[in-house]
Amino acid sequence: MDENIKREIILDHYQNPRHRGLGEDDTYKKVNSNNESCIDNIDLYVKIENDLIKDIQFNGEACAISTSSTSIMIENLIGKTIAEAKKYINNFENMVNEKEYDENLLQEGIVYQDIYKQNNRKTCATLPYVGIKKILDTYPEEREK
């Protein structure tokens, strides 16, 4: 993907983040995503029903990379089963950590393809994943089948 298009996608998701919100009711589970090395702080509100991610919303203060990455992650995870979501997450993290990954599964997540070149921003791109994994990991393994 062209560098300028990547930048535009990131800026668009930063300036007009999708799925901002606080979760309408208590069917949403809240989880905080932050990391020690930066000042970003994001809360995720996740609604899961019968193995299916029905909705995710987020709120918080974070940099362009973290905010856009959260917005893009949420767009990609809504509608997925937990197993599918874990696969997406794993694939995304492989990309950031310079391991083998499948480009075709990433959708707009591909815009962070080269983020590994900026060490101090890798943690920004993966910030929302810290939180979502905490929630998904509370779901028992056997339900992934």
């Binding site: 800026l11 300036q15 000042i39 203060e61 940099c63 362009a64 905010t67």
Partner: protein, 398 residues
């Protein structure tokens, strides 16, 4: 000024994060090496020449600190690891024993974590109350507001001399005078002021003062706790062991040394303390008044330029220190810091360890430029030019 003294400035960087730590001049680095190469023995221990030399150098720094802050006695200078340790020592070793439940400590919302969390800890453990002196429209502390908050239970006022986000210089002398009329102790966190404005503990009449060497051209890992002698005598040592005891036989027969050794247990940061002496001599040579004046000029130059940029929100237009805090409208501070980093300009983004300040200024994260005497007007021009083009920031920050 004096840029040639700083090896770090041989690199192509613009260093605007002096509030976090200052750069070290060659003489301080050389002094560290001198200790390790020429007389690298322990202090206060040996009976041989180089050990004697260590003692002399180590105690020479104490004398230099005493003169630097105009303390009355050498024993009033306790070496610690830094401001944070000094503040903890005084809160845990003195006030924890002195204060009763419901006694009140006054701080402000612009204090650094190191002057907040030790008090919170006492509040949780002992039931003391931590109250906040309201800040005025400029986020300053005024004597009037201090007076309003004092009750019969107020026992301590603990304030930064200069705060690390707003950069205001507090009227410590007036506050201390009023506080002492009401039998209230005054603790001053001088981390941000010590290398920038003159400190005279006798004139200010503060009871305790904490600061770090690394914010005044000295090494990291060294700091000072100053306390009035008659008060320091009552500080309970929190670290016990070698160097601080006179003799011991069993648990009932332990005799501690006099000040300052009593509060400096264990092998100290000898190289650091010795090199710190070189830092003080260095600053003395330039002159703190010269430094303060130059910083003020730099600050005014920067503010006058930033104020003309419509999308820059200045948090502290007024303030007499070299700290300038701001945001670019609708751009997260850390993104701007990354952008400036691409041009080798070092600024700090975040809450700067003043996490309750957001309730006062309404923003959690900011950019902070903190100036020192080796910064230049040309560096400010570079910064301002980079900040005045918002499209460029948005384009290049990613």
């Amino acid at each position: 000024m004096n840029r040639e003294d700083f090896p770090m400035l041989l690199q192509d960087i613009v260093y605007f994060d002096n509030g976090a730590t200052t750069l070290k001049p060659k003489c301080v680095i050389d002094k560290t090496v001198e200790y390790y190469e020429k007389y690298g023995a322990n202090a206060h221990r040996g009976d041989y020449d180089i050990s004697y030399k260590v003692d002399q150098e180590y105690e020479n720094t104490r004398r230099l600190v005493k003169e630097y802050i105009h303390a009355k006695y050498l024993e009033e200078i306790i070496f610690t690891a830094g401001s944070t340790e000094s503040l903890n020592l005084i809160v845990q070793g003195f006030f924890a024993n002195l204060l009763d439940p419901n006694d009140e400590v006054l701080i402000t919302k612009s204090e650094h974590a190191s002057n907040v969390l030790p008090w919170f800890h006492l509040a949780n453990k002992k039931g003391i109350k931590v109250n906040y002196i309201p800040l005025d429209d400029n986020h300053y502390v005024t004597l009037e507001n201090v007076k309003k908050m004092i009750t019969p239970n107020t026992k301590v006022i603990s304030l930064a001399y200069i705060t690390n986000v707003i950069g205001d210089i507090r009227p410590i002398k007036e506050i201390a005078e009023y506080a002492h009329q009401h039998n209230i102790f005054v603790v001053v966190d001088a981390a941000q002021s010590i290398g920038h404005i003159k400190t005279d503990v006798q004139d200010l009449d503060v009871d305790f003062l904490a600061f770090s060497a690394h914010k005044m051209c000295g090494p990291t890992g060294v700091g000072v706790l100053y306390g009035k002698k008659e008060l320091l005598e009552h500080v309970e040592p929190l670290i016990l062991g070698g160097g601080m005891n006179e003799s011991f036989d069993n648990e009932h027969e332990v005799y501690y040394k006099e000040l300052p050794a009593r509060l400096e247990a264990g092998t100290p940061n000898i190289a650091g303390v010795i090199a710190y002496g070189a830092a003080i001599e260095y600053l003395n040579k330039i002159g703190l008044d010269t430094i303060s004046e130059y910083e003020k000029k730099l600050r005014k130059y920067l503010i006058d330029k930033l104020i003309d940029i419509p999308f820059i929100d200045l948090i502290n237009i007024e303030s007499d220190s070299g700290i300038v805090t701001f945001n670019i409208t609708d751009i997260f501070s850390q993104d701007v810091a990354y952008y400036l980093n691409k041009y080798n300009i070092c600024v700090r983004a975040g809450s700067h360890c003043a996490k309750i300040l957001k309730n006062e200024v309404g923003v959690t994260n900011t950019l902070r430029v903190s100036l020192y005497f080796y910064n230049t007007f040309e560096e400010i021009d570079m910064l301002v030019e980079l900040l005045s083009d918002k499209e460029k920031i948005l384009k290049e920050m990613l």
